[in-house]
């Protein structure tokens, strides 16, 4: 891994963080898309997408609802996908599922840690914005400029936190994953594979929780059964 790649991935993390917390929420910051972007940058789109899908399925239950304490999905997905993609590219290891499982685990851990960092640093940003108190005699033009200053401060803050998180976590995550995948034997490879294959169950649970309401149950159950029949036939 070159320093240039860390910088590029950190910049991507910064841009996606700004989109996630300050943009129009166009889903680009969601793991499934951010991991794909990382994969395309590193040249390993399919394994990176596998990491993104696994993370998305786990984090489906942590959509940014009001007051929700969610993990930092951007740093988690960027670091997780980059770890898998870079490991596969650099080591040439053929155990793709193990690499994807390791990247996913790393992504989940970074996401949790990143969530704590983002919540803590955001308190400072919030205090700065809450202290906005312009002079009473300020005209609209002056006020607009002052608000613009706060806007750029906040946008840069979100991007900087995201970029620093990725830049700090990626080398550590990569070194840890390299060591871990270098020492595991076949039983642990099988364990990691089982874990990765079981993760979608958490996504299925999140979906069930989201849509299982009295008037929606019939759609949920019917489509599950219909799709199962179609898959069975196909």
């Amino acid at each position: 891994m070159m320093a240039r790649e860390v910088v590029i991935l950190a910049l991507l993390g910064g841009l996606l963080s700004a989109d996630d917390r300050a943009g129009w929420g166009g889903m680009l910051a969601h793991p499934i898309y951010s991991a794909l972007l990382v994969g395309l940058l590193v040249g390993q789109p399919v394994p990176a997408l596998m990491v993104g899908t696994a993370l998305e399925l786990v984090w489906l239950s942590a959509l940014p609802m009001r007051g929700a304490r969610r993990p930092d999905v951007v740093s988690g997905a960027v670091v997780g996908a980059a770890t898998t993609a870079l490991l596969l590219r650099e080591t040439g290891d053929a155990r793709t599922l193990l690499m994807v499982a390791t990247g996913t685990a790393v992504g989940l851990a970074v996401g949790e840690a990143g969530g704590v960092v983002v919540r803590t640093t955001s308190r400072w940003r919030d205090a700065r914005l809450s202290a906005f108190d312009p002079p009473a005699d300020l005209d609209s033009r002056g006020l607009a400029w002052r608000i613009e200053g706060y806007f750029f401060f906040s946008l840069t803050f979100h991007a900087a936190v995201g970029a620093v998180l990725v830049a700090a976590a990626l080398p550590v995550a990569l070194a840890t994953a390299e060591r871990l995948t270098g020492v595991v034997g076949e039983p642990l490879v099988a364990g990691a594979r089982e874990w990765l294959l079981l993760l979608p169950a958490l996504g299925a649970a999140a979906l069930w929780q989201t849509f299982a309401h009295r008037h929606l149950n019939r759609f949920l159950v019917l489509s599950t059964m219909l799709m199962l029949i179609l898959l069975w036939i196909g």
Binding site: L129, S130, F132, S140, R141, W195, A205, S223, T224, M227
Partner: protein, 258 residues
């Protein structure tokens, strides 16, 4: 107001606010969450959005922006409609119609809470899970075209609300309250939730089928984990942490079984 009148109104109102002005307001509302803060929530973003039209709506040196620095909290996809409505009311006030600053504030406060709840229900409770579920399905089958199409469709809806909402709110003014009082929104929400539930069911089926294809024990284990996860979610326990805990656990279990 008939359709033709409304179009003329959007093209050029009494204060000279044109389509381009409203587009600039909408553009500034795209990153409105950047200015979200605990004290005033989206108050700064609201004032920032009004900046391009402030000079056209001010009278007697009365600063429009400072009047709109009060607490404001709404779903970011529905907030543009309120901003459009406020511009319309401010313009009516400028044209000499009986609209007091207190009325504009009343409009803002009375409509923001219901629209916040409706927007959260529609976007965070139905549309986003639907789009992400579709994206997951496409990702499982590695359909890059499907992924891009889902992203484009979702963004088309969101950007229509964010940019088109300003025009809609401006054209409606006070009538905006009536639009959301009727059954139309509930019907729309019901349709999106039904589609979401159907796509969600399809993803659940794909997950179960993949477990079954792997082995019977995997199907049993997956179903048990999903059932346990539903219980954990109801107890507000983070599935992300559960997944992290399961990683070393699965390795230990595999070692013991071998």
């Amino acid at each position: 107001m008939d359709r033709v009148d409304r179009h003329e109104r959007v093209a050029r109102g009494p204060a000279g606010i044109g389509r381009l002005d409203l587009l600039r307001v909408g553009w500034r509302l795209l990153p409105m969450q950047a200015l979200l803060h605990a004290r005033g929530m989206q108050s700064l973003a609201f004032a920032r959005a009004l900046a391009p039209v402030a000079h056209k709506l001010e009278q007697d040196g009365n600063s429009l922006l400072s009047r709109h620095l009060g607490f404001f909290n709404c779903n970011p996809n529905f907030a543009p409609m309120i901003v459009g409505g406020v511009i319309r009311l401010e313009e009516d006030r400028l044209a000499g119609r009986p609209v007091a600053p207190a009325d504009v504030e009343y409009f803002k406060r009375s409509i923001s809470s219901p629209l916040a709840a409706m927007g959260d229900l529609l976007f965070l409770g139905a549309l986003k899970p639907l789009a992400l579920t579709l994206a997951c399905l496409f990702a499982i089958y590695q359909s890059f075209i499907g992924l891009v199409a889902t992203w484009l469709l979702y963004n088309l809806v969101v950007l229509s609300c964010r940019l088109g909402g300003v025009y809609f709110g401006y054209a409606k003014g006070w009538e905006l309250v009536d639009v959301f009082s009727g059954p139309a929104f509930q019907r729309l929400l019901g349709i999106v939730q039904s589609i979401g539930a159907s796509v969600g069911g399809a993803l659940v089926a794909v997950v179960l089928f993949r477990f079954a294809r792997d082995s019977t024990s995997m199907l049993g284990l997956g179903a048990a984990l999903a059932a346990a996860a539903v219980v954990l979610l109801r107890k507000d326990i983070s599935l992300s942490r559960v997944a992290i805990l399961l990683f070393p656990l699965s390795a230990v279990v595999t070692l013991l079984l071998m």
